[in-house]
Amino acid sequence: MSTPVQQSTPAGPNPKTGTGLHVIRLVLGLVGAGIAAYGLLGLPSQLGVAQLVGLLFWLACAVLLHDGLLVPLTSLVGAALNRFTFGLGSSSAAVLRSALMTGAVLTLLTLTLVWAQSVARNTSVLEADYAAHLAWLWLALAIGAAAVIYLLERRTGRRFRRQKTRP
């Protein structure tokens, strides 16, 4: 398979890249850089050295955790799903992955909630049983996805399925 690596910089002249677009880019870029610089210069006006170092640590950790852990992990899951297709069609695959994606993001959210609950309990905040809600959500996702996939696959029919080959 060829690598669908994207072009990071615009490639040369384009019919749509007129002088007008160049001016817009320049103005947008300068305004953007100015606004970002305003924010960057504002930080040390209200944060002490130790706090700035702490912020830098969080910024670095955010990128490392995301790029070094989260994306490789989800890519592994995606690769596994590509391998074990169970002969499902592409619509069914989308339904299955939608359910998994929804469940995964809400699990991430709930883990944070439960963690916060254990350290920062307060009157009328974080009162619900989020773990139970999450369990119900996964159950609903499983039932919902199974039902939709069943209907999709039945509609596709046997004839079409026999034509398809595994990658």
Binding site: M1, T3, P4, V5, Q6, Q7, S8, T9, A11, G12, L21, R25, L28, G29, G32, A33, A36, Y38, G39, L40, Q46, L47, Q51, G54, L55, W58, L59, A60, A62, L70, V71, S75, L81, F84, T85, L88, G89, S90, A94, R97, M101, T102, V105, L106, L109, T110, T112, L113, Q117, V119, A120, N122, S124, V125, L126, E127, A128, H133, L137, P167
Partner: protein
């Protein structure tokens, strides 16, 4: 090294990824970030007003709406940001990492955008849980980072504008193949990749549209599961937000309890009086005297910076009546002091527009009962359209400026 990164990129390759996908996700995320930035600036302006600040008091739920949008669009941007970053992940593995000074600057600005966006949405979310597991002050950092995020976003849009413009609309495949310049061939071949076209229907794989649908479903689910803390009509689906409408004493959630504020004995002192001063003269009202004055009752929301809100029935004395009784104009700025011995919100400035508003109350009752201690007994401020932290509880004095 080149071969290694190419091999890595191939490992992470997916026919779903394409510039068109990134553009579509980028549009959704850009809208969320912009809504978040605008509503955040409004909230900041209400709390740290510049001299030209406008203070809208109608509709009375305006802050409930803007801050609800702030938190909801922030939560929606979490799955969108993850999907957007996933769609460009192979970019990270490109070799050489830096081709020129301009390229280095561009990658640096992207690193800044990615890092600040991730920290902004994660700390923003965790702040709504009233949990602060980081070594920097949340409010100030969130404020300044928002400029960094939005500024570097504009810079990023400027850098990618030709790509964005080129993929703004879905490619019309037959014509695109006909009219191609050499440059376009390079762009479409390299950037659109196999995903730019309709990917062949492979068993068990999904298409770009399938992926977009999944991201849409996920974002919808996250919003549906949490937005009920801010919007009453979504309250039945609120399973994953830190607050639930209708909970807490008298059916209203509490952010800062009397115990947190260490205000219990002072507030429950039977000798409590509200002191009002104007030009060196002052006057004190006991709770009984306040209760004997003409009372007004209004349905007003209490809306917190953390996004939750709750509409309730408040009853008490119009603040403009108290100000006029001192011989001052109702359009006066006030300095309101709480009994709280310390804390950032012990003092509150009230701009004249709120003082003059007939719905701004020194509230003594909530939902038909005497204010509970956690809601600010014996008396608190409730004004239309202001952040919850400025609805000062456990009143001590009002100074007419």
């Amino acid at each position: 090294m080149n071969r290694l990164t190419d091999a890595l990129a191939a490992k992470f390759a997916s026919p779903v990824r394409s510039t068109r996908l990134t553009v579509v996700l980028g549009r959704w995320l850009g809208i969320c970030f912009t809504v978040c930035f605008a509503t955040g600036l409004f909230s900041h302006g209400l709390q740290n007003p510049p001299s030209w600040m406008l203070f809208p008091t109608r509709p009375v739920g305006i802050y409930q709406l803007t801050q609800g949008l702030h938190i909801t669009s922030g939560i929606a941007s979490i799955p969108l940001l993850l999907a957007k970053l996933w769609s460009v992940y192979p970019e990270l593995l490109k070799w050489p990492p830096v081709r020129s000074v301009i390229h280095a600057l561009e990658r640096g600005s992207i690193a800044l955008l990615v890092a600040s966006s991730l920290v902004q949405v994660v700390t923003g979310l965790i702040n709504t849980y009233k949990w602060y597991p980081w070594p920097f002050p949340f409010r100030e950092t969130h404020y300044w980072l928002s400029w960094v995020v939005w500024g570097s976003l504009l810079l990023h849009i400027a850098a990618k504008l030709p790509l964005i413009a080129g993929h703004w609309r879905r490619a019309r495949r037959p014509r695109e193949a006909e009219v191609t310049t050499a440059a376009q061939v390079r762009t479409t071949a390299a950037s659109a990749g196999p995903g730019g076209r309709q990917p062949p229907a492979v068993t068990g794989r999904w298409s770009r549209r399938g992926f977009l649908a999944a991201v849409g479903v996920t974002t919808g689910a996250v919003v549906l599961g949490t937005a009920g803390q801010s919007f009453a009509w979504l309250s039945p689906a609120n399973f994953f937000a830190p607050r639930k409408m209708g909970t807490g004493p008298q059916g209203v959630p509490v952010n800062r309890t009397a115990a947190d504020a260490k205000v219990g004995p002072l507030a429950q002192n039977p000798g409590w009086k509200l002191n009002i001063s104007y030009r060196g003269q002052s006057r004190s009202y006991t709770l009984g005297e306040l209760g004997a004055l003409p009372q007004a009752e209004h349905e007003l929301p209490i809306a917190c910076v953390e996004g939750w809100s709750q509409t309730a029935r408040w009853r008490g004395v119009r603040i403009r009546d108290l100000v006029q009784a001192m011989g001052a104009a109702p359009e006066s700025d006030l300095l309101v002091t709480s009994l709280e011995p310390e804390g950032a919100y012990r003092f509150m400035s009230m701009p004249a527009v709120y003082t003059a508003d007939e719905q701004t109350l020194v509230a003594l009752e909530l939902n038909g009962g005497v204010l509970e201690l956690d809601h600010g007994y014996p008396a608190r401020i409730i004004a239309p359209g202001r952040p919850g932290v400025l609805q000062t509880k456990w009143l001590q004095s009002l100074e007419i400026l």
